[in-house]
Symmetry: C2
Subunit: 304 residues, 2 copies
């Protein structure tokens, strides 16, 4: 956490958002380990209020994190999230939300419904990322689904999949985190002690290089393995095994904010158990240290 945070500079079409609450994501911890070469202000999960004059002034908002150029091959093909020239809030070429204020394009803003409190709205981005799985893969009530990983991402993906309805088990190895899922009515199992599940769908949320192999062993032939974790480094895979078993692997990143906000407005997801602690932005170092402990889930940062 820097003492010399720059005041945000807005480009055309951007507004200044005064941050009310931000959350530390596993990717923020990976940033510190050099996952991508980013030297700006981190932070991409936030809720705030628009300060700049105009139609949005005074509104409570969340913001999609990818800022597209609108002119490259991917933008012209309708894949703005994959813009070749993109900046990403707190992750690539653009200061993020671990600050008093952040500059955000108006097109990235979504108004937060009054029913959604700040400590829930701040999780819109990761809830949307969890919902992305449902955008990419058909999930039905009779599908056997496994989430591998009981951390931040696993907890959110599991809750979204449980809301969607399927035969769900979460595999992890932190008993306290698995207990939170059990309390939400979600079946869990200790990963190392679980025989191959033959699941229709496995969602890899471990955030670790071992996760892919662990997830792979639970996918049935012709089943689907969704990758959600981002971390630095490569892993060994056996391509022939994927061919013989006709496995589908789907990389999955950001998701739909409107659907996430609607879920939060309906109160369909109980996210309160995921809130580990809240720190003042001034105590950011301490907050990051706490977020990096094995038992931590979401650690929130509050400016001012």
């Amino acid at each position: 956490v820097r003492e010399d945070l720059p005041e945000p500079v807005t480009a055309a079409g951007e507004v200044v958002v005064r941050v009310r609450l931000a959350a530390i994501c596993g990717t923020d911890l990976e940033l510190l380990r050099g996952y991508v070469p980013f030297t700006g202000v981190p932070g991409h999960e936030m809720v705030g209020v628009v300060e700049s004059p105009g139609a949005w002034q005074g509104r409570r908002v969340v913001a999609e994190i990818t800022v597209a150029c609108g002119a490259c091959r991917e933008c012209l093909a309708g894949r703005r999230g994959h813009c070749l020239e993109r900046t990403v809030l707190g992750l690539r070429g653009r200061h993020g939300a671990f600050a008093e204020r952040a500059a955000v394009p108006v097109v990235n803003l979504h108004a937060v419904p009054d029913e959604v409190p700040d400590h829930t709205a701040v999780l819109t981005e990761p809830v949307a990322a969890a919902l992305e799985v449902l955008e990419q893969v058909r999930v039905e009530a009779n599908h056997l689904v496994a989430v591998v990983g009981d951390g931040r991402l696993g907890q959110l993906c599991a809750r979204v999949l449980a809301w969607r309805g399927c035969r769900l088990t979460v595999l992890g190895h932190h008993r306290a985190k698995l207990a939170l899922l059990e309390a939400a009515g979600i079946a869990t199992s200790i990963a190392e002690a679980t025989p191959p599940l033959g699941a229709d769908l496995v969602v890899e949320c471990t955030g670790s290089p071992d996760g892919l192999a662990m997830a792979r062993r639970h996918v049935r032939p012709r089943g689907t393995l969704v990758l959600k974790s981002t971390f630095a480094g490569t892993v060994e895979v056996d391509p022939a095994g994927l061919v013989v078993d006709e496995i589908t692997i789907v990389g999955s990143r950001c998701g739909p904010f409107p659907a996430a906000l609607e879920l939060l407005r309906q109160g369909s997801l109980d996210l309160a158990p995921l809130l580990t602690a809240r720190y003042s932005l001034r105590d950011g170092r301490e907050a990051f240290a706490r977020a990096a402990t094995p038992e931590a889930l979401k650690v929130l940062l509050e400016p001012g």
Copy 2:
């Protein structure tokens, strides 16, 4: 090639097929390198005539290669091709077609239309495998598609994709093999000299560990990479890259025989350029050596 080929022993529901022609597949060459621990008679691409008495006697047939138990979890789920107890003609627990005769279950047989000569019918199995790509992935006329690999598998996948209709390029590094594709009206490019294509679909057919990375660099964000090659060994992949670009990877193995036979009956695929040589089964060693040369495509074996 063994001098002491066993006479086929038929189980219930099986017939003896007298082999008229068999073809050497890349997987047969991989078998010799220890791809899977198989010690029987190899050979899974063949056309023959049923010798056993009964309804099929005297009919010219091709045979699906996977023999399912009908009782395991995968069979009961309708995925007989992924039977947990399966045997596979010439590949797993079952003698294959590089012999005078082979035992095959009746349920695996397909009659060969009279219009299809032996030297084309013998390729039904790999044509079906190429068609499997179209079963798994939506391919449309405006899709930019790349096949990586100009060998046996690449040639067949490319010809099937060209028949389906799409904006196709084959990447390879054997000029003579690329020339065969150009002669069929298919665009080609030297793999090493080709900048990233940003393809909607890339089909990996190199049969080599380098192929996956080579194929990966031509897939656009949210695009699909189909894996067709089977070979022994593992490769390094960067899972975060798949997540960030939301790539889908699809393992693809055996395909639909009826569709393949119909394509061959219509004469929609010109496979004659793929026939490198024909050997007597007695000269099997020489045939395998020929098939292993870089310039070889399909090498056929003729018993008797």
